[in-house]
Amino acid sequence: MNSHSEEEQRMISVEDPALREQIYVHTVYNEIAPHFSHTRYKQWPIVEEFLKSRTLGSIGLDVGCGNGKYLGANKNVYIIGSDRSDQLVNLAYTNNSKIQSFSDTLVADGLKLPHFGNSFDFVISIAVIHHFSTPERRIEAIKHIISKLNVGGEALIYVWALEQQNSRRGWKEGMPQDILVPWVLQKNKKKKNRNDEDQEGTQEEEPETKMRYYHLYKKGELEENAEAAGAEVVRNGYERDNWWAVIKRK
């Protein structure tokens, strides 16, 4: 666990970061979308609270909305969710049609969002920035997000933490930060443990393993990235193996 695996070495040797993300993020999410979506249905309390506290008539973005589990959190605001994975956006659209959510969904790249700058009251980007595979691209992604905010608008960012000694993964300070995390796809789609948000499947019927790229953030790094992107950190913290920060334009 203290050094890179062979597959991680291969991943790191892919020189073009966009290609690396294509192979180790976008393709994987499209392949695991339905199974992944089944494990992502609970709203995290800080995110839910952030959305519920937006004022009536607010208009915001969910960048990297995945299966769209936050799009219906507040019926008095309009949220446009986007994701790089068309398969996840399909699920987000279907899930939110069912609950009559006040939202919309589209397929877009987080570095090329199809929106005007200086136009939105809020943005959330939950468990997304850690999939960009260089510091420059992570900072660029945050810069792109805050450019869409109105003056006074706030963005909530969540990224996976390196410091998660109490999780079953047991990662901690000093371990590699650029890693591949296995997702075990069950052919028969049976899930035993729906309560574990990152349950990687059970041991039946020749499972197929897909590797996803993550940059694990160490303490203080999200805030450093935000400042490098020209943002001001309003509040921040650690929750459920993630670092989070509410940021705004300076």
């Binding site: 008539g57 309009y78 790089r84 006040f102 397929v107 199809p114």
Partner: protein, 129 residues
Amino acid sequence: MKFLTTNFVRCPISKCDNSLKAFPLQYKNCELIQEELEFNPEFLANILDRLNWEAIIAVAGDLGNDSLPPTKPENVDPKDPENEQLLKDLHTLLIETQITEGEMHCGECGHIYYIKSSIPNFLLPPHLV
């Protein structure tokens, strides 16, 4: 894709950033449906201020609706019963009208984005990124 969203999307290609022709996108060959959603008059009255009304009129025109008032309704009090019909009409147009299939053309660079099964796709081919 809900009609309201057309007021908040534009061509993501960098060179179109400052072009007045890149917004709104031009909607062509579109199929529409009406999807019933809960009426929220306070929300509508609150967002009216920030809507780009010219863009609303342009997109409505693309979709075959030329009946919108030429100027944006101002200071609409959602509690005043006289405004109920106006807000209901806006609700029907902005929230309940969905484009299920169609094309979005950028008036500046000519790039075409597609809407399929109600989902617009703004990914760019590699040479345009």
